[in-house]
Each structure stands twice: as C-alpha cells, then as structure tokens.
C-alpha cells in the first residue's frame, strides 16, 4: 500500500497544472487537477495521492474538478491538499473526510513592534517560558470550561472567549469568519466529543502543531507588507493548532453515523474513508451542525493560545501586550467545509467547498475582508518547517477563477514519520537547529526527529507554484527563531 507509486495518467495542461482526465476511472464525474511544477512532480508519483484526487471525483454533485494544491500528499480518503466543491442543487454531498479529523486546524500570525535585536538576548528565556506556560504535547490540559460554558463556546466561537476578556474585538475582525460559523449546534456534538474537548481548549497538541517566534526575513511586496503591518526583522508569533480531541471525535462520530449512508443513498465510493451524505439529508445536516461547532472550538483554542503568548511576552519584556502592539495579522483555517458563492460555468452558485489541508485565499475587494485588507486581499498564512521558513501571502483573483478561492496550506511532508526518525538516528535535531539560530523545545526528541526540516518539502517551492499560478501572491517570508512543539 502507500509506498506503491501512482501509475495513472497525469497530463500537463499549463505551466503549473496537471490533469487526471475523468476517463481514467469509471465513476469519475469530473477531471482531477493538480497544481504543481516539474520539480515537485518528481515526488508526486511516489505515492497514491494522485489516485486519491481521482477518487474524490466520484463524489455526487462535485463541481468543475477534484483539485489538489502543490503541497499534496497521501492522506486517508481525501489527499492532504485537496479541494472539492459540491452543489446541493445537484445532489451534492458533504464528506467529513474532505475536512479531516482536525476540523478547523489552522494558523494565525500575530505581529509585535519588537525587532530581532530586541528579542535576541532574551530568546532562550522567552522560548523556555512559552514552553512552560503554553500546554503542549500529549495529554496536557488547558483552560477548563464547564459543560454549560463549553456549549456556549461551541455555539458562539471566538466572540465567546473574547467576551470573557480573553482577547480584543480587533482579534475577531482579523479572524476568518470572525471566529464564528453560524449554524453551529452544540446539541449535535456528542458527550464523548465534549469530554475529549473539555480540558483541551488552549492546548497546542502534538504532531505538526507548533507555536513559533519568527522574524520577517524578507518582504516581497512592500505595499501589501505595509497593509499587513509587516517589515523586515520584525518579531511575530505564528500558531498552528486546531480543534483538538473535540474535533477529532466529531469527525469520528460523523464517520460512524455515515457507515451505512453510501448504501442508503445509493452512492458508490472507491474508499470507505470517503463516506459522505447528501447535504440536505438528515445525516448531512447533523454533520454540518457539529462540524461548525468544532470549528468554533478551534478558533477559541487558537485565541487562547495567542493570549498565552501575549502574557508570556509581557512577563519576559515587562511591557503590556498593547504596548508591544501584539496584534493579530490574520487567522485562517485549512481543514474546513464552507458554504460559499462561486462563479461556476458562467453561473453564480452556492456550493460546499471542502478544504482539507488547503487555505482560503480570497482576492482584493471580496466582501468577507476586513476593511484594512480590502485592497490587498486576504492574508494567507503558510507554515513551513521549523528550520527554514513560513510564508505570508495574500489571495488573488486566480484562486476564484481556478480553485474556488483556495491556495496551499503548508510544505507537505516529503518523508513519513518512521523514515524521518530513521534518517535522524544519531543526530540531535535541537542542537542542529540551535546552530542555525533556532531554539526549539519539544516534549519528545522523537517528535522533533519526525518533524525535522528534512521531513518536509521545501515550502519555498510550494509557495512558488501558487504564486506563479495566480492563486495567491507572495508578501513576506518568515524565519523561525524560537519553536515549541508537543
């Protein structure tokens, strides 16, 4: 399995676009389209990810094409880096697998008015304090909420925690969807999901999640940089986490609920993990209501993590977060399904856009944009690996024309976890990073080995593709200087 290479068709249709024609497999309703380039293509055929792009094309009601971003890699059911839009008016389905277990996993970037020389002498102290105060790793507890509070939080999203003094109104303005999806139904979230999530709001988790202190390494677009408040050598904080155990359980519950739905609704699927239900069915509605609640939880989680970071900076630098202008640049989700309006085949349609390991990238003048960014487009935050870089981009019109307003979400893995550990045998990743000026703290050395820079594709190459393809536009390259991980 997995290690098998993909031997199906991949036809180049433009500089950054390859197609899997719908004739490849009987049952595909649309083509598969993968955004990539010659260099990244070398890796693409190494596993079954392209096959998964073809499999997603089986979903009823799918529009235009089953899409994949250049950070595509093999997932379960859907590939990571996959995008698909389904139309409820054409029997379209909703699929929990097209969102993923970590519902509303996402990234936020907070800027400060500090510059590298201000922070450098205190960096170790700062990272140690972040590592001590931000709950990180397996089995760690965050802020505890009663069941009643948790239900409010699920229904109301970030505004709920901000209302309790854990952030500012400005934070909400610069969070995708204002940190709240309407239509969330806490009653659709199982007791099991509530109990898994109860102690986990405000915890980072493990795996690829992180909190990093970064500096702006290079600004590629001065005007956009200015609008986003980013300039060279400025210190920022990037946070990557999601909906924790609550979201995983919501996805799990939905997949269990949908076990029989392919038969019930006469949907033929090539992979059990693609389980789905018609959007307007009872099962579909229940999943959507619970998924929205989990998304709200994730925004609260990142909001609390950001508040923790603000408090730690205040402790270390002896100044208030306001004084250090610790303002949210933007928060984006990259595992989500949203009901959005798009131009498809010459018509305006409302469709369910599934983004699994893919980021919304709305262009300038889109109505869902904070006024400050109206002229530059929606900020897109792309976490890379802990040794090289992360990126800030802005959305471009090309995303609306080609990918339902979507771009990539990260570097994408180049090595499996086991291969990365084997590769790192006998090395101390933390020491290597330190030699490069990055202080990294993690709960397990094995975790660091699994997440070492070499385990990932070079994020610069991934970003180059989406930039060239006109899906989003480079604003700034960020360089990590402090990392905490689970």
């Amino acid at each position: 399995m997995g290690k098998e290479t993909y031997s199906g068709p991949l036809e180049q249709i433009s500089e950054c676009c390859w197609r899997i024609p719908k004739s490849y497999k009987q049952g595909m309703r649309v083509d598969g389209i993968i955004f990539t380039d010659e260099r990244l293509m070398q890796q693409l055929r190494k596993d079954q990810a392209p096959e998964q792009v073809a499999n997603v094309a089986f979903l009823p009601g799918i529009q235009y094409a089953s899409l994949a971003m250049p950070d595509i890699h093999w997932g379960y059911g859907f590939c990571i880096g996959g995008v698909c839009a389904t139309d409820p008016d054409e029997g379209g389905v909703i699929s929990p697998g097209g969102v993923g277990y970590d519902i509303n996993c996402g990234v936020r970037l907070m800027r400060t008015n500090l510059f590298y020389p201000d922070v450098k002498p205190y960096l170790r102290q700062l990272v140690e304090e972040l590592f001590r105060r931000v709950p990180t790793g397996v089995g760690q507890s965050g802020k505890s909420f009663s069941e009643k509070e948790l239900r409010h939080l699920l229904a109301e999203g970030s505004p709920y925690v901000v209302g309790r003094g854990l952030g500012t109104a400005r934070d909400l303005e610069f969070t995708e969807a204002g940190g709240k999806l309407e239509g969330a139904e806490p009653a659709e979230v199982s007791d099991r999901a509530l109990s898994r999530g109860a102690g986990q709001c405000g915890t980072l988790g493990s795996g690829n999640h992180f909190l990093e202190v970064q500096i702006v390494d290079h600004v590629f677009d001065e005007d956009a940089g200015q609008a986003l408040g980013l300039e060279k050598d400025q210190v920022c904080v990037m946070i990557h986490s999601g909906s924790r155990g609550l979201g995983y359980q919501v996805c799990d519950d939905a997949l269990a609920m949908l076990r029989k739905s392919p038969e019930k609704y006469g949907i033929s699927l090539p992979d059990r993990q693609l389980a789905c239900a018609p959007i307007d069915s009872l099962e579909g509605k229940r999943y959507i209501a619970s998924m929205r609640a989990a998304a709200n939880f994730a925004w609260c989680n990142r909001q609390l993590l950001m508040q923790q970071a603000r408090e730690v900076f205040a402790t270390i630098f002896g100044r208030s977060p306001e004084d250090m202008q610790m303002d949210l640049v933007y928060d984006v989700c990259h595992n989500i399904a949203k009901f959005e309006e798009h131009q498809i085949g010459g018509r305006r349609k409302k469709v369910w856009v599934h983004r699994k390991g893919a980021t919304r990238a709305f262009p300038p003048n889109h109505p869902e944009m904070p006024a400050a960014y109206r002229n530059v487009g929606q900020p897109v935050i792309i976490p890379g690996d802990m040794g090289r870089a992360s990126w800030v981009l802005v959305g471009r019109q090309g995303s609306m024309d080609q990918t339902f307003g979507t771009t990539c979400h990260g570097a994408g893995r180049a090595m499996s976890r086991t291969a990365a550990v084997k590769e790192a045998s006998g090395r101390r990743i933390d020491k290597e990073l330190e030699a490069k000026g990055v202080i990294a703290r993690a709960k397990s050395l094995r975790g660091l080995a699994e997440e070492q820079p070499k385990a990932y594709k070079n994020v610069d190459e991934v970003v180059e593709v989406v930039h060239k393809a006109g899906l989003s536009h480079k604003v700034a390259r960020m360089r990590p200087i402090g990392v905490i991980k689970g």
Binding site: Y76, G137, R196, S206, Q249, D252, R259, R417, S444
Partner: protein, 136 residues
C-alpha cells in the same frame, strides 16, 4: 506481534497473531506503543472492562481501538496488558494499566483518530493479520 509501517503524514500499525483473541490484544498494545515510549513502563495498577459488538471484524477492530483511544484521551489512562475474547464480531476485553505519569512515562504521539483508510483484518498463512492507520 506488532510493528509500525510508513504512511506519509501518519502512522500505520501492522499486527500479526495466531488467533483473533491475540490479534485484538496485540492491537491494543500496538496503539499504546504509538502513544507512549516503552510500553513496559506502564504498570497494571487499574483494570477496565470493555464489551463491544460490530458489523464485521474490521469495524470491530476499529471500534476497539477507538474505545481505547477515548479512555486515554478522557482519563489519560495508559494500558499495556490486554485479554480479549472475540466471538461473532463482538468482543469482551479486560485491560490493565495506569494513568499517565510524566515522571515515569515518555509520551510519543497524540493519536488523533483511528482511520478507516486501508483498514484490514484478514486470515494469513500463519494466523491473522491486521493493518490500521492512525491519524497523528
């Protein structure tokens, strides 16, 4: 007997055993070996009982591991010893372990979920084989 196998972003567990009872017991150990480094550091101080029924053996394995993951996630319970009796797509199990104690246990992965992707329980030449991918 169990081992891990490669999956790009996640982790595959491959379990082999002479019979189904042993297969499910080993699968429990395989899961916790992904969560905690060195399962032998987990002492059998507490006992839990699990009963489950499912539609087929693959779903039964999935539900079994899901139950164990839930126990860890909500009660921070690490389990290292299992006795399982499987009959007709249902199981009765007893497991022993103790709550996570970071002074003695080194944690490895946060397993987010058990996945259905390429889930496999099948007869092999020398007994039974199961494969399951867990989301990390």
């Amino acid at each position: 007997m169990y081992e891990t196998f490669e999956h790009t972003a996640d982790l595959g567990l491959r379990i082999r055993a002479a019979d189904l009872n042993a297969l499910f017991a080993e699968a429990g150990k395989a899961l916790f070996s992904a969560i905690v480094d060195d399962l032998s550091t987990v002492e059998p101080r507490e006992r839990i009982d699990v009963r489950l029924a499912s539609d087929d053996l693959e779903y039964l394995l999935f539900d079994w591991l899901k139950e164990l993951l839930y126990l860890f996630d909500t009660e921070h319970l690490l389990l290292g010893r299992f006795e399982v009796t499987v009959a007709d797509c249902s199981l009765e199990a007893v497991a022993w372990g103790e709550p996570m104690d970071l002074t003695r246990h080194t944690m490895l992965h946060e397993v987010k979920a058990i996945t259905y992707h390429a889930l496999k329980v099948q007869k092999a030449a020398d007994g039974w084989l199961a494969e399951v991918i867990v989301d990390i």
